[in-house]
Symmetry: C2
């Protein structure tokens, strides 16, 4: 079985080219803009979306620079959304580095997000006229916003169901991961059935990815996360593990859960209660099972594609998304 | 001389079509997104940028629905920037209505701005392949962001010069107003000299517009402004009137000005001192003179275009930008 590092190794040259594109395409003639943008773009992360563009393209028989450009585009959309999320969540640390608003204030951070979107538009403009990328990404960015708005609006709604939450994350997280696969596929083939298979794959691992992301916030050490642990809980954010736990709670536990999700509640008390609930209702194994179900569905979708080392890597990547610890 | 209302009357049918486009193109299947977006899109404003697209197109001999689409696009970019500005300025009122973050919180407000950008991308995608709009707007949104980032970064810099500030506003405000004119012109003609004349016109009235906007914050009643008076001053924001006043101050006055721009200084004291400075150095007439100079330069640029009622309206609009009281 390929581990994540081996998958990265398999496409190391491509990922190097993507990094070069990212640096080149976000350069501003204003040194301050440049510095702020590089702070977030070079902040790292797993580059999951670029990896998906490159592997999807390869799985569909394409090799070349277009995959690097589109990989850079989806990564910039992703980074822009993180920058805005951090502002709104008032996060101080991301990927082990200070966030933009901690370094330079909210205004700079929101605007750097906007700047990255402007650069994405500029990169798409320079592509050929029959390129489907623009349309795919227009739909994607709209769906991401809709998902985020609904999530923000629902944030005070304690009664959100698992199904409603899954719908929201399919928009917030799944759409861009799916688009990464779709864009890569389009570079290599025109067979709609195969392209749709990769879109489905991306959508499903996107959901798995977010469920695990939500879980890690509760169970992983902050050094590994590169951000503060229990961040979602402290903000009173309802994420998958809490919503899943709540669906099993009795009325007394539900009332207590509502109490500990109030940001004014003592943090140690909140964490202790949530951990006890997680124990009682096997929340961690439940999250892993649900995420693995999505990953398995994603892998099954890949059967529509011919065998290749890239397809194998995509299969392994689906499992990695569930088994990762950061 | 045409007054603003008469200019609007002249193109009332076009502006009605633009409003219809704005409503149609920002509709979301999610009723909450829809409500939040309509709150800001229908919040009114003068629709200066749509007026400029329509008049520029007419001045170049074009009549038709493309002008309405592009007018809606530039207005949405503008509204998105206002929504983000309000979040960052923590403004509670805009155009006489509660701002989004007052009604629904920061997160909804930042995301609605992002949603509007996503809609802009979707509207541009649906246009023909040889359309220069996308490239023009990619450059424009990037420049707007750069201007905003630099302004935010410079906001603590008391030594900003008039020239530096004019450069910033030419990016923040001037670029989109110029683009409105350029886009309209492109619909009607291919003569680069005439298109450049309209771009110059837009850039110049954009600067005039911002200088007057800055001035009105100090001299106009809040009922007319549709927002709180002295808002910039209270935030310690350095805008044209203050920067111009400071350039005439002696060292004692400079020290005092720095003191009153500190948000911790008593507001009544700050306002009284700034008003005394404005009196002593004739700041209001100075701002009007500088703005009129830009407006005159804008009008002169229009000489490259054939005579038409639209060109006359553009000339009058340049004067209106300076003489307006809200």
């Amino acid at each position: 079985m390929l581990h994540f590092d081996q998958i990265v190794q398999l496409i190391a040259d491509d990922l190097g080219a993507v990094e070069a594109k990212l640096t080149e395409q976000t350069a501003s003639e204003y040194s301050f803009v440049d510095m702020a943008v590089q702070h977030v773009v070079e902040g790292g992360g797993k580059r999951l979306r670029p990896i998906l563009v490159v592997l999807s393209a390869k799985a569909c028989g394409y090799e070349g620079p277009d995959a690097h450009t589109l990989a850079a585009v989806v990564e910039l959309i992703h980074v822009a959304s993180l920058v805005h999320d951090d502002v709104l969540d008032e996060a101080s640390i991301r990927r082990g580095r200070e966030t933009l608003q901690t370094k330079w204030g909210n205004k700079v951070a929101v605007l750097v997000g906007d700047y990255l979107h402007a650069r994405v538009l500029a990169m798409l403009v320079s592509r050929r006229a029959d390129d489907p990328a623009m349309e795919i990404l227009a739909d994607t960015t709209q769906a991401m916003c809709e998902g985020e708005v609904i999530h923000a609006y629902k944030s005070g709604d304690f009664d959100i169901t698992v199904e409603e939450y899954l719908k929201i994350i399919s928009f917030k997280t799944g759409k861009l991961i799916a688009a990464s696969c779709t864009l890569g596929a389009h570079l290599g083939i025109t067979d709609e059935r195969q392209i749709a298979a990769l879109t489905t794959y991306g959508q499903q691992i996107g959901t798995a990815f977010q469920i695990i992301d939500d879980l890690l916030d509760f169970v992983e050490a902050p050094e590994k996360l590169g951000k503060n642990a229990f961040g979602d809980l402290r903000e009173g954010k309802l994420t998958f593990p809490i919503i899943a736990a709540r669906s099993r709670c009795d009325d007394v536990e539900k009332a207590k859960l509502e109490h500990v999700l109030n940001p004014h509640t003592d943090e140690a008390e909140a964490i202790a209660f949530v951990q006890s609930l997680f124990q009682r209702y096997d929340v961690e194994p439940h999250c892993l099972t649900v995420a693995q179900t999505y990953a398995d569905y994603a892998k099954a979708a890949l059967a529509a594609l011919p065998h290749s080392s890239a397809r194998t890597a995509l299969e392994q990547l689906a499992d990695y998304v569930v088994s990762r610890d950061a």
